[in-house]
Every structure is written in C-alpha cells, then in structure tokens.
Symmetry: C2
Subunit: 284 residues, 2 copies
C-alpha cells in the first residue's frame, strides 16, 4: 500500500502560511497583487482565470483580471502589459495562455518585466532558470518538488525518470531533479521500450496527457510516482497513471485529481509573494 | 576497432565551405566580422583568443580583439559592448571568460545584443535555446552534434547518456540529443554506480574533466563515445575517456586532442556567419 500524497492537502497548509504572511505584509507595507490578462472567451481559460482569482482571494492577496476582447491587437496588449510593468501596486503579471492565433505568444510574454513574471514562462526567466540564476521558476515543476519534499522523498543519488519533454513540465522538472542530485532520464513518445526505462525509476514523473497509460508493468516495486496528467474520460478526471493498478506496488503516489493540480496555483501564489518581497525589499 | 572521428578533419571541411561563402558574401555585401573582448592577461585566455583570431583569418572573416586592462571597470566594459552592439560592421561579439573577479560575468554577458551573441551564453540566448526558439546555441554542443552527423550516427530512439551537467556542455548537449529524439540520461558526480548507467548507453558523451576516467568497463560493445574532456597529464593532453582501453570495444569514438576541441571554434565561426546572414538579411 502506497502513501498517497494529496496536493490538495499540502496546498491548504501552504496557503494558510501564505495567508498569514499576506496579512502581516498588508498591515506593514501594502497588499500583494496579481494581475491576470485574459484575451478572448475560451471557456477553459475563463475557468482557469476564475480559479486564480479565487486562490488570491483565499489568501488575502489582491487580484485584478484584465479581460480583453478576442480581437485585441498586439499593440493594445503590449501597451497594457507595459502599464502593468510600471504599476508599483502590481507584483505579478500572468498572461493566460493560449492566446488567439493572431497574437505571437513569445512576443507578448517577452514584454513582461522579469521581476513580475510569476509564471516563469518568459524567455528571460527560462534562461535564468537553465543558467541556474535567480528568477521565477515554472509553477508545476515547483509544485512537484514541494510534493516530493512533503513526502520526505530522498532525491540525491536516486534515478529519476521523467516521461514527457514539454517546456512547461517535463523539461524543467528534469532540471530541478538534476540540481537535487538525481540521475535523470528523459523519455518521450519516441523512446523505444518505455517500460524498460520506467521500470528502473526510483522516482517516476509522468506528464504525457495519455489517460492511464502507465500501468503496473511500468513501475518498480517501492517507486515514488508523481502523476502530472489531467485527462477527462467519460466525464471523469484521471491521470496518466493507472492509479488502481500502480498504487499497490509503489511506496508513494499522487492521485488525480487532488494531486499535482492544486499545487500549480499554490506555487503561482508563492511566486507572486516572492515577487512582492523582491519589490518591497523584504528579506526572508 | 572503432571508427575514429576527427574533429580536426571535419573542421577543415566545414571551414573550407565557410571560406567559400565568406568570399562570396564579401564580394557582394561586406566582410563578416567577429569582435573579441579580452580583459586582463591570463595566458590561457590570451592563447584562446589568438586561436579565434587565427580561425577567423583562415576563412577570410575579419576579427578585432579589444584587449582591456585587468583593472577595467564594469562601466568601461559595458560601454564597449554597447558600442559593438551598435556597430553595423560587427556581426558577433565574444567576451572571453573567465573575467576578473571584480566584474560580474552575468551582467557583462547580458549586455550583448542577442543577435550578436555567437557564443550563445547570455541568459536570453539560453532561454531561447531551452524554449526551443530561434537563437544562438552554445558552440561545443553544436560541435558534438556535427560530429555525430559526420559519423552517420542514428540518434532517434537511442539511449544517450551524458556524463557531466555543466551549463556549457552537459546540460545543452542533453537538450540537443533530446530534441533529436534520443532517450537521454544525465549523470554527474553524485550518480550512484556510474558504470551501471554508462554501460547502457548507445551514445555516451563525457564532459567531466577527469583524465581517462571512463574505462572499458563503462562502455557497451559497439557504443558511440564522444570525449569532451581536455586534461593535461605529464605535459600531454588527454580526454576523460581512456582511449586505448575503450577504443577496441566501441563502434565510433573521438580522440583527444583533434576530437571535439577543434569543433568548438568552428561552430563559433558558423554562428558568426549565421549572425552575418541575419544582419544582412540573407536567406539560406
């Protein structure tokens, strides 16, 4: 029987700590604030943005959503971001992706002041991340590291296998595990005999977007399994790991939902609070 | 008996192609030019800079070295780089590292215009590299990829093991191999039982700076071995791989010297030529 690590529970704990800090900060300095930019009316994006507003609110952090028409021009959007860059009451700026096709995402993201890039997705933040310099790291990989810490998983000297090589998750989590002194293998859709590789993992991170793809045969007895997948099958959420088959074999596993998912927003709040401290000159 | 791949030979071929292009470009447009900034009198740095000047000269590319006193201030250095950024006759800017201790390397590198960052070491170039956007890639990893191509090594679906996780070599070559669809494992000084991992490599890249550290027991029969190490033992150069012991076992191997080393400068020339084409609006 595995220990099941709930990101939902860890999030509650971390958010409670942050709420306490926000209260103190607001009393002494000013209220931290996240600006969210949403272009168009994609229902999924609108629901994600709502979730971010709610999360800010829950810890007493201010948030303001700038909801622009789907036909907004690049110039208008860049001018808005420029204004937010210079607004001293704004600590973090998040542009909800994807943007409509006529807007170049890289051009838009590049406009965000790196000191406010709490999503960690601008080229300069990525460069700083991979060059191991101070800067904001992407939220989902940070959330995974927090879950591993919560589960008291030893990373140093272990073999970590990351399945999926996305810029948002697979690639940066491999980097964080490497820095924590794991030996790291990166697998993907072109990996020959995936099972042979994942079976050697002490720590297995799966982020491929294929419902219940990783079964019992893919994992070693006693492994630690982190499931980043969020798939909808017959109206129900499930991960990339076949939880019911894998759970009995491993030592630690995250469920879907209530696993990695809630950690991503929590780490966004954490990054925004870090940006706030940076802007207010608060040492931690 | 392995096929021995000489970077020195491949370099001659690539440089000859580039010399031909430079001649044509110079006739029609202007001569491509590399600016090299050297601060202080470190003998190794001075010799590297000489090597770069010679390489430019050999293909008909202009180069100019700005040799500053070791006590040069940050302001002076940044002003120089700013001038080179705006000089339309300069295609590439290379700041020879390491800089004296009183100069912050990241601050200096960040000043280089990304369109002239032919070393690929500024944070913005690194970010573009890891975000898989257009930009300059670091020269040694590019050289390794060129050697693998020269040796007709199939990368897709193979298991590549990279030993060493530096920002200059290990990390970016892992990334390039991943993009070429290899399954990639990153090892380092904290890897437990390195031999067990390297023995599974179809392609083994070693960049650790330990003379002849990788022996016959570390490699699989028929593997492809790329030795990035340059170590001096008893006045003689040797790699991180024990060439005499490993060579009989593998299918392809690079020697030291005359292996990866010459490729780094060749790729610097190639990046500078790419910068030139960018600046002159020449499509390839």
């Amino acid at each position: 029987m595995a220990r099941i690590i709930y990101g939902s529970e860890l999030s509650v704990k971390l958010k409670s700590d942050m709420a306490h800090q926000v209260e103190q900060y607001t009393r002494i300095h000013r209220q931290p604030k996240l600006a969210v930019v949403l272009v168009g009316d994609d229902p999924a994006s609108m629901s994600y943005v709502k979730g971010k507003e709610k999360a800010c609110d829950a810890i007493g952090m201010a948030s303001k959503t700038y909801h622009l028409d789907g036909s907004t021009t690049l110039d208008t959007l860049l001018t808005l971001i420029d204004g937010l860059n210079h607004d001293h009451t704004v600590d973090g700026i998040l542009v909800q992706l994807p943007l409509p096709d006529h807007l170049d995402e890289q051009q838009v993201l590049s406009k965000i002041d790196p000191s406010k890039d709490v999503d960690g997705l601008t080229p300069i933040s990525m460069g700083r991340f991979f060059a191991n310099q101070p800067g904001f790291k992407p939220c989902t990989p940070l959330g995974i590291m927090a879950l591993l810490k919560e589960a008291n998983v030893t990373i140093e000297g272990k073999h970590a296998v990351v399945v999926g090589r996305s810029q948002l998750v697979g690639n940066p989590i491999a980097q964080l595990l490497l820095r924590a002194n794991a030996t790291v293998t990166m697998c993907h859709s072109r990996t020959v005999d995936l099972e042979e590789v994942t079976k050697t993992a002490d720590i297995l991170i799966v982020a491929i977007g294929k419902p219940r793809y990783i079964g019992a045969n893919h994992v070693k007895d006693g492994a630690v399994v982190i499931d980043v997948g969020v798939n909808r099958v017959d109206g129900k959420l499930c991960g990339d790991v076949d939880f019911d088959m894998v759970e009995p074999k491993v030592s630690v596993i995250t469920p879907v939902p209530k696993g990695v998912g809630p950690m991503t927003i929590t780490m966004l709040l954490s990054n925004t609070l870090q940006a706030y401290r940076l802007h207010e000159g608060i040492d931690v």
